[in-house]
């Protein structure tokens, strides 16, 4: 029998190594797997390269991981937001480096990485500072940049529901990068608000097929970042 369900978030993240590249799903708080991130803080892995669109807010979830000093490099498109205080400080002090990638290029790099495509050409960022020094080629009179696919050791994903095979469905705009990251990581770990019996998810609506998922853990009442930040919560 295939059973990818594990019993706790601690067990789910137990083998993540120092120096790992970790993709974390979410756009802002939508889809952010806060409980898995907190388990990773408790677990202690450090010198991580983290791929996420943003850098978290307040002092919970991704921002807490950065604040704990565990992230040596952030790969993201938009590391600024109203409540993002932690990353700017560690970036300016030189503790955390930044690889800035346009949002669509970031998404496609992750998709390509998961699809076995080592590099591709994109028109995005031609003629801008982010295109400087990047290999170029002209197709049909238009210039394109060659960018690399992106893979990871681990992906941390939040779903609405999953089953023991690892099939996942998401909640509204919480889907964002997660299906791509699930494809691009060697070990994809999903926290789901409910883990349902096999056969309950309609095959027509499964978004991430289980082949891309390695561990599933039930987190029945996941926290919401904005609520935690508003309540002044700081993790740990």
């Amino acid at each position: 029998m295939i059973n990818k369900e594990v019993s706790s978030v601690a067990e789910a993240v137990a083998d993540i190594l120092d120096g790992a590249t970790v993709m974390i799903g979410g756009f802002g708080e939508a889809g952010s797997p806060i409980e898995l991130i907190h388990a990773l803080i408790d677990q202690g892995a450090t010198n991580l390269t983290v791929v996420n669109n943003n850098t978290g807010t307040g002092e919970v979830g991704l921002a807490a991981l950065i604040k704990a000093g565990r992230v040596s490099t952030m790969v993201c498109s938009y590391p600024r937001s109203a409540n993002s205080k932690v990353f700017p400080e560690l970036y300016r002090s030189g503790h955390t480096a930044l690889e800035l990638v346009p949002q669509g290029t970031l998404a496609e790099r992750i998709r390509a990485g998961g699809a076995g495509i080592p590099a591709f050409y994109t028109p995005t960022a031609v003629g801008t500072p982010l295109g400087e020094g990047v290999e170029r080629r002209t197709f049909d009179d238009r210039d394109y940049l060659l960018v690399r696919g992106l893979t990871a050791d681990v992906a941390l994903i939040k779903g609405r529901a999953a089953d023991r095979h690892g099939n996942v469905v998401y909640n509204k705009t919480a889907r964002n990068f997660s299906p791509l990251m699930a494809m691009a990581a060697k070990t994809t770990i999903v926290q789901a608000a409910s883990v349902v019996p096999i056969g309950e998810l309609d095959p027509e609506v499964v978004v991430t097929p289980g082949i891309f998922v390695h561990r599933v853990v039930a987190v029945p009442n996941p926290g919401h970042e904005a609520e935690l930040v508003a309540a002044g919560v700081s993790y740990p």
Binding site: G28, E29, P79, T124, T128, P129, K172
Partner: protein, 209 residues
């Protein structure tokens, strides 16, 4: 500006509105036109903000504000969302600007200040792929410096990408020869707009400008 821009949003179009003033365009699209709004974090058919207390923190727009889903909406992941953008499937995007050059170059993501945290989001993808790119901006900076210039001094978002600019003074098209005035705001003269513009304006408005 948002109101004037809304008149140019055609029935049946797929539209992405940038954060800030561009978002306000939706409120002014003339009745009778059905427009489908795209938000690059993963939805077509975005609706207005929810009634207080009814929102879902996982139903948000690109500005990370809670929104609603209109009947007929669809959710999708980021690679699909940016395939819509980069693949030329969206009809219009409306963005803000720091500077626009007379060749249509846009600078809107960074002032290049050495202590700033660089952040780009989806702006470079939008201008690279969306069929028609509209810019809404004040005609000058708070200090009175022109934002419409011969050549941008701020870091670029895209080269030759802007089609039309809506300012507080005029509507201006970017054409082969440069900035062409389409329309002047009420009570504004061509000369006064020229004075506040960092490049030569071409007359050509249907209202005599």
């Amino acid at each position: 500006m948002a109101q004037r821009c809304a008149l140019d949003i055609q029935n049946g179009s797929y539209v992405n509105l940038g954060i800030g003033i561009p978002e306000r365009v939706a409120a002014y699209v003339p009745q009778g036109r059905e427009v489908i709004y795209h938000t690059e974090n993963g939805m077509l058919g975005m609706g207005p903000p929810p009634e207080p207390g009814t929102g879902d923190p996982e139903l948000i727009n690109a500005g990370k504000q809670q929104v609603t889903a209109n009947p007929g909406a669809a959710y999708f992941h980021h690679a699909d969302s940016f395939a819509m953008i980069r693949g030329g499937h969206l009809d219009v995007c409306v963005l803000g600007a720091l500077q626009v050059s007379e060749r249509g170059d846009l600078a809107n993501w960074s002032t290049g200040a050495p202590d700033a945290i660089p952040a780009v989001g989806g702006a470079m993808d939008l201008v690279a792929g969306v069929k028609t790119v509209y810019v809404i901006t004040q005609h000058t900076t708070r200090d009175g410096e022109p934002k419409l210039v011969e050549s941008c001094t701020f870091p670029l978002t895209g080269l030759g990408v802007v089609d039309r600019i809506y300012t507080d003074l005029a509507v201006i098209d970017v054409v082969e020869a440069g900035f062409q005035v389409v329309e002047l705001s009420p009570g504004v003269s061509f000369e006064s707009v020229q004075e506040r513009t960092g490049a030569k304006l071409i007359p050509g408005g249907t209202d005599g400008s």
